[in-house]
């Protein structure tokens, strides 16, 4: 008797799920919405600002070429290399800026914590796939571009279950 009622209970629970909304994110059409513009860090207070740890963004007018991001990455992924740039900035005497290899980066964000001049942020852009390994290496000029992606799907909870809306 216990066996029969147990199976009926399980079946009943399964049948109830026929009426529940689908909880699947249809990825290329829908993209999840994130908090803020990406992970940033305030070196004065020593606390970060919540956001997705995606592709970096480099502000050329703030970068001094101090290499602290590269030193922070040395023990982690060795993804950051300092390269020569053609631009002339007053604060950047050596004209070197970070170049990030996303084939190695683990997106921990400790380079953002290391930057004392607010020059390196992380953005909501996470679609970095490429057909070649060279395509994953982002030069300072590529890192300067602000990503433009539409992300609007959010988890909505109603009586008929959760859905990505």
């Amino acid at each position: 008797m216990g066996t029969a009622s147990g199976i009926i209970k399980a079946l009943n629970s399964g049948i109830k799920h026929l009426a529940i909304k689908r909880f699947t994110l249809r990825y290329p059409e829908q993209k999840l919405k994130f908090v803020g513009d990406g992970y940033q860090f305030d070196p004065v207070s020593g606390v970060g600002i919540a956001g997705l740890k995606g592709r970096h963004m480099l502000f050329h007018d703030k970068c001094t070429g101090c290499q602290l991001c590269s030193i922070a990455c040395e023990g982690i992924a060795e993804a950051i290399a300092m390269v020569k740039v053609d631009e002339k900035w007053k604060q950047n005497k050596k004209s070197i800026m970070p170049q990030i290899d996303y084939g190695k980066c683990v997106f921990c964000g400790l380079c953002v914590d290391a930057c004392p001049f607010y020059a390196l942020y992380m953005t909501n852009d996470y679609e970095l796939s490429s057909f070649s390994k060279e395509g994953l290496i982002y030069t300072p000029a590529q890192l300067q571009v602000k990503p433009n992606i539409k992300q609007d799907a959010e988890i909505k909870i109603s009586d008929r279950g959760a859905t990505h809306g």
């Binding site: 399980a10 803020g36 020593g46 919540a50 997705l52 023990g75 982690i76 683990v106 921990c108 400790l110």
Partner: protein
């Protein structure tokens, strides 16, 4: 005849009529994880079993000796990427002690919320695997789907879906986003409603019960003698939870209870993590009530902090049992030694004792009920 058998399977002749076959389960077999279990069977019954871990050994302890206290964070969470907050917890507590840092009150609460969310994420992943290896594919899909609710919360909190790198010595990396408390409360309430339904489809299911009840029974004195921890120990009737017995951070301010079952079989071992998840929901709600509304979440450290000639051992209750880290410092920016002691490896020791005399078909039910994560055990 014997030479035609595929490699890995051989028939051992013992006496005239005794035929004992050696079977290698793994390391490629999906039912074993990243490890090999050498099983000797007589017919359908297991005569002896020899677990052979070590296929995913990465030398985390040695790597920790060449990096400073901050850059150790991303690689130390790699053994359990689903439970990364809990594996960083003892490291952060230990480094804070040897550096003499006092963590702000708000950071302690944020840590508790993050580690409880992470415990649920790990448990759901484990439960999905446990379900699929018992042939219950619904139990694979439901936890894998509901896990998204918590991963979404952790993504809002820390900025990454797994491998958060969120805990640091001195607090947490960033504060909670502005409307996090409301979103967290809403999704946790829904999540609790969802996981309560697992009872009707999985834990009350007579098919599951017939396969797991009285399978691989670990008695109370054996559980102590073999040194098991976490859900395995609590399923054998011993009330030992580090969150209660040695409360760290703010666990002594929160209302929760530990779940203990008496029977010590696979069914009890698989039920304890589920009961713990329901308890985690209560802890998160309680922590969201009691959290200080404002304040700092991180103490600013000097670059390359150095400690004196000190050593410390800290342990926390992770999803798989007690997880301890023994940190020795010799005055340099890098630690002299980081020894990681994990619950997974200690629970694996029980496996040869539990499988003796069981049917081969019950092996996944016993093996996965040990709450064992091969990557963490190898470190």
């Amino acid at each position: 005849m014997i030479s035609k058998l595929p490699p890995g399977i051989k028939v051992e002749q013992k006496g005239d009529n005794d035929k004992i076959m050696t079977l290698n389960v793994g390391p490629q077999h999906p039912g074993s994880g990243h490890m090999r279990i050498i099983v000797k069977i007589d017919g359908d019954y297991i005569v002896s079993c020899d677990p052979d871990p070590g296929y995913v050994h990465r030398g985390e302890e040695k790597m920790a000796e060449y990096r400073n206290y901050i850059t150790n964070i991303p690689h130390l969470e790699r053994p359990v990427i689903h439970d990364s907050c809990n594996i960083l917890y003892p490291y952060c507590l230990g480094v804070e002690e040897i550096l003499g840092i006092e963590v702000p009150e708000r950071a302690k609460y944020v840590r508790v919320i993050a580690s409880e969310l992470n415990r649920c994420v790990y448990t759901l992943y484990w439960l999905a695997i446990y379900g699929i290896f018992l042939g219950h594919s619904t139990m694979f899909m439901w936890p894998a789907g509901d896990r998204e609710l918590l991963i979404d919360l952790l993504e809002k909190l820390s900025g990454a879906r797994v491998t958060h790198a969120y805990f640091v010595p001195g607090g947490v990396r960033n504060d909670m986003p502005s409307n996090f408390e409301d979103v967290c409360l809403r999704q946790i309430n829904y999540f609790e409603k969802r996981i309560k339904q697992y009872d009707s489809i999985f834990y009350s299911n007579p098919i599951l019960k017939s396969r797991t009840i009285n399978t691989g029974v670990l008695r109370q004195n054996d559980a102590i003698r073999l040194g098991s921890t976490g859900s395995v120990l609590r399923a054998s009737g011993i009330d030992f939870d580090l969150r209660k017995k040695e409360p760290y951070d703010v666990y002594d301010n929160l209302d929760f209870q530990t779940n203990v079952l008496k029977s010590g079989d696979s069914y009890a071992r698989s039920k304890i993590p589920w009961l713990d998840m329901l308890e985690s929901c209560k802890i998160i709600r309680n922590a969201l009530e009691k959290i200080p509304k404002s304040g700092s979440v991180r103490v600013k450290l000097k670059p390359n902090p150095k400690a004196g000639n000190v050593e410390t051992y800290k342990r926390v209750e992770s999803g798989r049992g007690s997880l301890g880290m023994y940190i020795i410092s010799n005055g340099k920016p890098e630690p002299y030694r980081v020894k990681i002691s994990v619950g997974s490896f200690r629970n694996l020791i029980c496996l040869p004792y539990l499988l003796k005399g069981e049917k081969l078909g019950n092996m996944p039910a016993v093996y996965w009920s040990l709450n064992y994560w091969p990557v963490e055990a190898d470190r």
